[in-house]
């Protein structure tokens, strides 16, 4: 029986980013000795798995808020209908638009990483546009809250407003996290340390924020 010597760890620094990170590619291959079960389990880089895990947990959180809303509304004598501030619809357009610009940025960066593009500034421009749209969205949400407050419609005015504030603020906080992620992507891109999986994870998160917002808008529009 051939003795297989333990291999030293391989850190493939030079590997193309699209092939995943660190130890991802080579792990879980079949060891050399015969008769063993075939183990084929090529692991993706952790960021691509991690992001789905994180999104699952965010989904649970908003599902919990949703069921709280449904339970609290059922049989509540005090539920007041509320009209959503119109600026929300504008914000919706902004956040959906940002998903498109991010997608453009992502593809260009992929092309740049693959050596198809010479210049880094073009993808960067789209990242900055995405970032600005994201900031615009948050600003728009803040305007919506201020508009309500200026009409005297506060957190405790009625339970429908309570839910409105809770859901939109929770979402905006998550969006702010996404903005942080974008800033990180930009700075890593500038330092040439950006990895494909980081970029993909950040953009999945960002798209998810858009989808979540559309869901919340429909929910609020139908329920409040």
């Amino acid at each position: 029986m051939a003795t297989v010597v333990h291999e030293p760890p391989k850190m493939d620094v030079d590997r193309l980013p699209s092939q995943g990170s660190g130890n991802g590619g080579w792990r879980n291959l079949v060891p050399a000795s015969g008769g063993l079960r075939k183990v084929q389990d090529a692991s993706p880089p952790p960021a691509s798995t991690g992001i789905w895990v994180a999104l699952a947990s965010i989904t649970m959180t908003f599902a919990a808020f949703t069921s709280a809303l449904v339970v609290r509304q059922g049989g509540a004598p005090d539920w007041q209908h509320m009209t959503l501030p119109p600026i929300l619809y504008l914000n919706t357009v902004v956040i959906i638009g940002s998903s498109f610009t991010l997608e453009i940025a992502r593809r260009r960066i992929a092309a740049f990483m693959g050596g198809l593009h010479e210049h880094a500034d073009k993808p960067l421009r789209w990242l900055y546009i995405t970032l600005s749209l994201g900031l615009l969205f948050v600003a728009g949400q803040i305007l919506a809250w201020r508009e309500l407050v200026s009409q005297g419609l506060r957190f405790a005015t009625n339970i429908s407003y309570s839910f409105f504030y809770v859901l939109t603020i929770a979402h905006a906080l998550h969006v702010s996290g996404g903005l942080g992620g974008l800033v990180r992507v930009i700075s890593k891109f500038n330092n040439r340390t950006l990895k494909r999986s980081t970029l993909d994870a950040t953009s999945r998160y960002w798209h998810f924020m858009g989808v979540l917002w559309v869901y919340l808008l429909v929910l609020l529009w139908m329920k409040l």
Binding site: L36, A64, M113, T193
Partner: protein, 593 residues
């Protein structure tokens, strides 16, 4: 192009004291930090239980110095009824969150999951570091509530609305105390979400070469399953406590109904749903009890296999059963709410899965017993605690069958029967899992052996003591003794007082026994015999690396895995165990299946 941040594998060994021991990114240090936190928490929780027991067993017992802890809560060193409830709430909260969740899951899981999967660290070490420190902040918030003017909340660890949501009118600690409690839990949730993220990703992505999922040891599987539960359960508790905080600080009415009169005051809230809290809480709460126990199941299986020198009857069925517990535990939460006025049909709908969930539990127990039957189990402290775990789990589980049926639960709900049930099945069993894990892994974690004679003494006294404390609870419950009473003055309760006295004495004695453990822990840490790399002749990866493991777990030789985790007593092998990293071929039917 190459990114350092997402990759633990790249971070070099830290040099400064702070990076090494305090804000460490190393999963092993973080695991030890969690262990230390759990140890502090369990001591606090245990002292609280003594105070409670003294008060219950010996009415108006003056506990010298208690007034120093709270002037209003214990004037003349005698606990007020409210203060009893406040201590009880702290006891339950500290134990459930900061002991039963942190020790078996976060502490041992952090230390050993990456090693058992063959990873150099967790994939997101910064999140991992935050996981501990956020949890620790949560603990500080909870402890801080002892020192605010009217003390900690008295609402119980379940914190039922509306009394938890209306503020100070409902009693001492119900204002600031509840808010601190809720913040503490919110921090805890964030910490465990970060932890779960790392655990799941480690298991899925960081396994070393040759380590398929089915080759993971049972302990690793248990942590993996638990982290999936943690990810979903804490993500629900968190919004619940946020809404609770808002009812306090923003004047909202999520949980408080209209025209509620408390202490002659009409409250300004309107329309809230008190049941909403129970739904949200128990949707988290039931999975939480499995979050507390499943790691123990994995740890104990791992310990027993090593000491039986043979694998469990079925590795796969054990894993699937733990998975089934996880899935089912989301469908049964309503069994905590049988008397909440829910529709009897819903009661039935929750009763059925509750009875079903006993099936995977029973399968797990039968696999343990069947595997133990006829094995030549090595008797050491770790394996004794393994057996003790099984014993407690069975004894506490049996009462679950009764409680699962609404018709019986109507009588037994909120009595000491329930308290007996969950202390055996969750508290003591999980604690036995922690003890077992400690005696088993201490050598790997610290490089020193624990004292076995003291360990066995600790085991036997604790084992007997735990039964003496918690078995009579069932009797009390059947006799109608309601839980959370601070004194027994009704005619039907007075004859039960001797039982309470007995329990109190047993609790104090069993508590004192734990000093043996603490002594053993501290003494062995500094003066114990040096531990070899593989003191128990184990097969899994933690035993193939140095003791204690180097910063990147495996030094400059990354492990390569050739076998299922438990190759003991393999026919024709050169010794009675084959390590996962040993290239020695195995021609057993087991390996091929």
């Amino acid at each position: 192009m190459h990114d350092m941040s997402a990759h633990a594998v790249h971070h070099g060994a830290p040099t400064s004291f702070i990076r090494k021991h305090i804000f460490s990114l190393d999963h092993k240090v973080i695991g030890k930090q969690y262990y230390a936190l759990a140890l502090v928490a369990v001591v606090v929780g245990m002292v609280l239980s003594w105070l409670m027991r003294l008060h219950l067993g010996f009415a108006n017992f003056a506990i010298p110095g208690l007034h120093l802890l709270s002037k209003n809560g214990a004037p003349g060193d005698i606990m007020t009824p409210e203060y009893y409830l406040q201590l009880m709430t702290m006891h339950g909260t500290i134990m459930v969150f900061f002991v039963l969740t942190t020790a078996p899951f976060a502490a041992f899981g952090n230390f050993f999951l990456p090693i058992q999967t063959g990873a150099e660290d967790m994939p997101f070490p910064h999140f991992n570091m935050m996981s501990f420190w956020v949890t620790f902040t949560g603990f500080l918030f909870l402890v801080a509530s002892f020192f605010v003017s009217d003390g900690p909340t008295l609402g119980g660890w379940t914190q039922y609305a509306p009394l938890s949501a209306v503020g100070a009118v409902s009693g001492p600690g119900q204002g600031t105390g509840v808010v601190l409690w809720a913040f503490s839990i919110a921090f805890f949730c964030v910490g465990q979400l970060f932890g779960s993220l790392n655990f799941i990703t480690t298991t899925l992505d960081m396994r070393c070469k040759g380590m398929s999922l089915m080759r993971l040891p049972l302990s690793a599987w248990a942590w993996f399953i638990t982290s999936i539960m943690g990810l979903t359960a804490f993500a629900v508790l968190m919004p619940a406590v946020i809404l609770l905080i808002l009812d306090h600080v923003a004047g909202t009415s999520f949980f408080v109904s209209s025209n509620l009169v408390i202490n002659d005051q009409v409250l300004p809230h309107s329309g809230g749903s008190t049941l909403l809290w129970q739904h949200l809480f128990w949707f988290f709460g039931h999975p939480e009890v499995y979050i507390a126990i499943i790691p123990g199941m994995g740890i104990v299986s791992h310990i027993l296999i090593t000491n039986m020198r043979r694998p469990m009857l079925s590795h796969r069925v054990l894993i699937y059963s733990m998975g089934a517990l996880a899935v089912l535990s989301y469908m049964v939460y309503g069994h905590h709410m049988f008397v909440s006025g829910m529709n009897p049909v819903s009661s039935l709908a929750f009763s059925f899965p509750t009875l079903v969930i006993t099936i995977p539990s029973t399968i797990i127990v039968l696999i343990w017993l069947g595997s133990l039957y006829g094995s030549k189990l090595r008797i050491n402290t770790a394996s004794l605690f393994g057996l003790g775990f099984i014993s407690m789990f069975i004894s506490g589980g049996v009462s679950g069958f009764f409680l699962a049926q609404p018709s019986i639960d109507i009588l037994l709900h909120a009595t000491y029967f329930v308290v007996g049930h969950f202390h055996l099945v969750m508290a003591v069993a999980a604690i036995f899992g922690i003890f077992g894990g400690t005696y088993f892994w201490f050598p790997k974690m610290t490089g020193r052996m624990m004292n076995e004679s003291l360990g066995k003494l600790h085991f036997w006294l604790t084992f007997v003591g735990a039964y003496l404390i918690f078995m009579p609870f069932h009797y009390l419950g059947i006799a109608g003794n309601v839980r959370r009473y601070q004194a027994f003055v009704d005619d039907y309760l007075i004859p039960l007082i001797p039982v309470h006295k007995f329990i109190t004495v047993a609790a104090l004695a069993t508590g004192a026994v734990q000093l043996i453990f603490i002594y053993n822990l501290i003494y062995s840490r500094f003066w114990g015999a040096p531990a070899p790399d593989n003191p128990w002749q184990g097969t899994s990866l933690e035993w193939s690396t140095a003791t204690p493991p180097p910063h990147n777990n495996f030094g400059d030789k990354m492990p390569v895995v050739y076998h299922d985790p438990y190759q003991y007593s393999v026919e024709g092998a050169s010794s009675d165990f084959i390590m996962q990293t040993s290239p020695e071929p195995v021609h057993s039917a087991d390996e091929e299946k």
